[in-house]
Symmetry: C2
Subunit: 327 residues, 2 copies
DNA sequence: CTGAAAGCGCTTACAG
DNA sequence: CTGAAAGCGCTTACAG
């Protein structure tokens, strides 16, 4: 060939500094010998890796499915490789992952922070050249952009819907107060009840469940409540569907004997039996905007550490109806 | 500090070549200045990256959840970083991913190959130093280890169970003949029917659906069959649950009017209404063994390109019962 | 037990 | 438009 490595390097990256003919000749030859570009070497030199990390509680949770898909398609477009990881709400796992990203020289990270994430964890990452963007949950004190749904508004939507149907005793099933999301959703429910002048019995708060299995198991507790509520405002669709399954198993009919609302509007909500009334959470938007914000940061734009709240929408289906007064 | 970089390098990796005192001094100092190990540089030098790629159709599909978790925990133990990707059964996406792995100098790849993967794709990867292990699906002609369930045996289990309950007209809903899995499962069903001397109407094969949504939509087609089958042997749990939802929506009772079997035994199968009779597929074993095999390959052991078939088990629940003869 | 030197495969000024 | 040289941050023989 008789060209210098510099020329090869430029040619392969389509630099106009190389004559078209030379460029083609080099490219053909590269293809012919099965040349494999060594990104480690390039990255070592440029300190850009083309890698973006994404870490959430559990990538297998369908709640994240749409978010991740949106992130994936945004990043694909910018030819960034993305590395996914679960932290299962364990700070240690999250730290190990961030460490790995730093060692690999990742360009940035999108994270749904684990419960108890101190702002320092994020600050340290940023100081070491790993810009971060948060999704779904906030970390107080971390000066980074956050993208999530307006959770308080969303559960208020669901609760108001139940109230307007005539329900007065409404339980809130699932979720935990240890996350900003959990607190916000609970407050949305409380606020709606208060505004309607309805009393709230602390026993109506069944906290904890976050999965279908959890919702299923919570059915027993729910059905055993004295002065049983006529409706349940659930933490998410998984809990709602599990709860409905548990209610069916006990011989009652969800959507008739007990009204149930979900949260997230998973694909599954529409085909559940009965079809689930739920709150659409804008997951796709969350993913898209978070990825965009990170890419902006990477290209040097100054992204201010704002809270972006996506406005949820109520999707009414068959799992909610007027209360049946048993006398 | 006054030590050479060589000493630092050795000290940080706990080499016995460095005096304990020196080692501690170096480590303390590294911590103090917030030293971050540069894996790109190390990898460039050693040509070992500590990265393993995993690519499947869709990581959000719950079928892969247990497999991925098992792989994750095996790889974690060997301190390998794993990079996950979806190929959505698009060869191009799969190729791009393998290319990325090659460029990053990944140590190996575990893949559930996309439909139509030619053996060359795998051979090229291996020749470029990226050993591969397959899960769930086989690629004829690729000399690599494969780990999957014994699909034909599994659907035969389900079909025989239905036959033993007295069903004679049994449909097979979902899946595609374009994958080895699809063909194997269909053959298991066919074989069981034949062995029992039962005729099979080609119209009973409703191929295609692989998701809950797909199963839900297939309900219409199933219920419209002339001489409607009394049972459906489904491609997987998602299809089965979707089908049951569709059957309910049409006013029939799954598990009574129509018996339904699933495949995979997802967590969800046990809490479906009715609880789903299904075939446990040994996902955890598949993931564990595949990861082990790859790690063995990485550590230089010679791993023969065998087919490892995990033996499935039937889990009987409430979605199957004797046929109701309507006269 | 520790240090000086070479080299992994790129990219980027700098010369020509 | 092309080439020679330096350097990114490690690890690994090799000397001492």
């Amino acid at each position: 060939m008789n060209v210098s490595t510099a020329t090869v390097s430029l040619a392969l990256r389509d630099s106009p500094l190389v004559a078209e003919q030379t460029r083609e000749r080099i490219k053909d030859h590269a293809r012919a010998i099965g040349y494999i570009y060594n990104r480690r070497a390039a990255s070592l030199r440029t300190s850009r890796s083309g890698i973006v990390g994404v870490v959430v509680h559990d990538i297998m949770n369908p709640f994240f499915a749409e978010i991740l898909k949106a992130i994936e398609s945004e990043l694909d477009r910018s030819r960034q490789t993305f590395i996914l990881s679960n932290h299962y709400d364990q700070l240690e796992k999250q730290r190990t992952f961030i460490d790995t990203l730093l060692q690999l020289g990742a360009d940035g990270v999108i994270m749904s922070p684990a419960i108890g994430t101190p702002p320092e964890d994020i600050i340290v990452a940023e100081e070491n050249g790993l810009p971060a963007v948060l999704i779904a949950r906030t970390v107080e004190g971390a000066q980074v952009p956050v993208f999530r749904g307006d959770d308080a508004y969303g559960t208020a939507l669901a609760t108001n819907h139940l109230i307007s149907l005539g329900h007065k005793r409404i339980a809130m099933v699932g979720g935990t107060d240890q996350t900003s999301t959990g607190r916000d959703r609970y407050h949305g429910y409380l606020g709606a009840m208060e505004k309607a002048g309805l009393p709230v019995d602390p026993a109506w708060r069944i906290s904890g469940p976050r999965t279908k299995q959890g919702g299923f198991e919570a059915a027993g507790q729910f059905l055993a409540l004295k002065d049983k509520p006529t409706a349940a405002c659930c933490w998410n669709d998984l809990v709602a569907i599990g709860l409905m399954n548990g209610i069916s198993r006990a011989g009652l009919v969800p959507g008739v004997d007990v009204s149930v609302t979900g949260y997230d509007d998973l694909e599954e909500a529409a085909i559940a039996t009965p079809a689930l009334t739920t709150v659409w959470n804008g997951q796709r938007e969350v993913g898209r905007q978070a990825a965009r914000a990170l890419l902006d940061k990477l290209s040097g734009a100054s992204v201010k550490p704002s809270q972006e709240l996506i406005r949820p929408e109520l999707h009414v289906r068959q799992s909610t109806a007027r209360p049946v007064e048993r006398s």
